[in-house]
């Protein structure tokens, strides 16, 4: 473990605490957020060389406060120049920090910040960016890199997100009780998006790909610790663990995708599977059922099969039926069709798929073509399967998916793809 990675881990942990302290003290989330970012950057360059200060949090709060005070002073000076009424403004000393102010618990702070960053007034892209910066402690440059956009674009997105929070009149505090469930659902969705982005991306450097998934899992762990009785929080954490466990097997060295049925299961992370299975088993026995729990349960059934042919597809079909009932969605139907095909044969699966043909949300989506191709191949309709694989390959915007789909189509041409 290098000095840099120790410092980076510490800074990520402290970021939300410091931000909450400064926001409470100065009363403005937007400016406090900028000040924390500057303090984090200063620490990231100074600490590895000069050593970690005795009270890292105190150091960050002091540096952040100084930036904020400078900022407020200059704002105030401008206000004084611009208006005679400036005389009525409070002297800066009134908002300047006391050195050793008592802080509320860090737990509440992380939760409050998550709710604020995932405010419903923001677009999902903005919620994601702001959460990674304010709660995750990532720099704008790191977030920009993870999403393959220029730093200026990401900076603009974050700044707009903060303006929207301000415009929505959101305050630094827990949402009212009657909004809590709905707001928590948004927080979970944002963590899910962060995880997914990291999981599906292959930038070529493993370290960079893992950044987002690890961050999503870390925040989900925090959230689970704070809200141990929220079944969907546990469900999402379990889903992430059980999905991420398969990461080493999902691509080959050259970046090609390996379908679940062909993955080398010896490469899966046994520890993460064990943890995820234990978590979802416990949760299902005591919490109100929800979509993340069901998806985690499905992932657990896959992960527990020693070989692909040992998969308990009957159980998966039942779980998808439940999922389709409580959270109907064309993507769920797609996966359900595959499961049904594994139990009752490809024609039964194709019948399930047919229900999607009139659904505008998925018509023309490459995943529909890809699943249909797969089921047609199982049914022995080689010409039909080839046509659908090629249609899916043209429609996807993912280079690895296109390569995979084209290889499936080519394999059919050789007459070798019927039984797997």
């Amino acid at each position: 473990v290098t000095a840099e990675s120790t410092v980076e881990g510490l800074l990520r942990e402290l970021a939300p605490q410091v931000l909450a302290a400064l926001t409470r003290r100065f009363g403005t989330f937007e400016t406090a957020e900028d000040a924390v970012q500057e303090a984090l950057l200063a620490a990231a360059t100074q600490w590895p060389e000069q050593g970690i200060p005795e009270s890292p949090r105190g150091w960050l709060i002091t540096v952040g406060s100084r930036r904020l005070t400078d900022q407020l002073r200059s704002d105030l000076a401008r206000a004084r120049r611009e208006t005679a009424a400036a005389a009525l403004l409070p002297p800066i000393e009134l908002v300047a920090p006391a050195a050793d102010e008592d802080l509320p618990s860090d737990e509440d702070d992380t939760l409050t910040l998550l709710f604020l960053c995932c405010h419903p007034a923001l677009s999902p892209a903005s919620q994601v960016a702001l959460t990674l910066r304010a709660v995750g402690g990532l720099t704008t440059a790191q977030i920009a890199q993870a999403f393959f956009v220029p730093e200026a674009t990401m900076a603009q997105r974050i700044s707009r997100a903060k303006q929207s929070i301000k415009a929505a009149g959101a305050r630094f505090g827990m949402p009212p009780e009657h909004e809590r469930a709905e707001r928590l659902a948004v927080v979970l969705h944002v963590l899910y998006l962060i995880f997914n982005e990291g999981y599906t991306t292959s930038s070529g450097t493993e370290l960079q790909d893992q950044e987002l998934t690890s961050e999503a899992i870390r925040i989900a762990r925090d959230l689970h610790r704070l809200l141990p009785d929220e079944g969907e929080v546990s469900g999402l954490l379990a889903l992430m663990l059980l999905t991420d466990a398969r990461r080493p097997a999902r691509t080959t060295a050259d970046g090609s995708l390996v379908p679940l049925a062909e993955q080398d299961r010896a490469l899966w992370h046994a520890d993460a599977i064990q943890e995820g299975v234990a978590l979802i088993t416990d949760t299902l026995s005591r919490a109100q059922l929800g979509p993340y729990q069901l998806q985690a349960a499905i992932a657990a059934v896959h992960d527990e099969a020693a070989r692909a042919e040992d998969t308990d597809w009957r159980q998966i079909v039942v779980l998808y039926e439940l999922l389709a009932r409580i959270a109907p969605n064309p993507m769920v139907t797609l996966n359900q069709a595959v499961a049904v095909a594994m139990v009752d044969g490809p024609r039964a699966g194709l019948d399930v798929l047919a229900t999607l043909d009139e659904d505008d949300r998925i018509a023309g989506h490459h995943r529909l073509d890809a699943v249909r191709a797969h089921l047609l191949e199982m049914a022995g309709d080689i010409a039909g399967a080839g046509e659908r694989y090629r249609a899916a390959a043209r429609r996807t915007t993912s280079i690895p998916e296109r390569r995979y789909l084209e290889s499936r189509a080519a394999r059919l041409g050789d007459g070798g793809g019927v039984d797997r």
Partner: protein, 130 residues
């Protein structure tokens, strides 16, 4: 609690907006109208930059200054000038990062007032195993 387990409704994508112009259309337009029409572009660019959706904006030089390279008999041959009989030329390229194709089209529509606009998705390296 209503969770949204699929990212179907949020499928962030990068697109290029390719703007094909007929130089004559713009040259023959009254100055006031040209200013108004270009003003629509500039306003849009500013809005997209501020919202963090704009990745990059480029305008292309006049087609007269174009060089075309074609390999003939295994040798790359450079010729002057625009391509064939075309009346419209690629005049601008925007790169945007938005939530959906629908959003990309919403952005591109006002740009098409006097030009032909193509919206094309960029390929990316992410992928789901199937």
């Amino acid at each position: 609690m209503s969770s949204r387990p699929s990212h179907l409704e949020f499928d962030p994508m990068k697109f290029v907006v390719l703007i094909y112009s007929n130089p004559t259309t713009w040259a023959e337009m009254p100055a006031a109208e040209r200013d108004r029409a270009l003003g629509v572009h500039f306003k849009l660019i500013k809005e997209l930059t501020e919202s963090g959706e704009m990745i990059r904006v480029d305008g292309l030089n006049d087609p007269m200054a174009t060089k075309t390279i074609r390999t003939q008999g295994g040798v790359p041959v450079v010729t002057d000038g625009p391509y064939g009989e075309a009346k419209e030329f690629l005049a601008g390229v925007w790169a945007i990062d938005v939530e959906s194709m629908d959003r990309a089209l919403e952005i591109a529509k006002p740009v098409a007032e006097y030009d032909t606009v193509e919206v094309r998705a960029l390929m990316d390296l992410g992928g789901m195993e199937m």
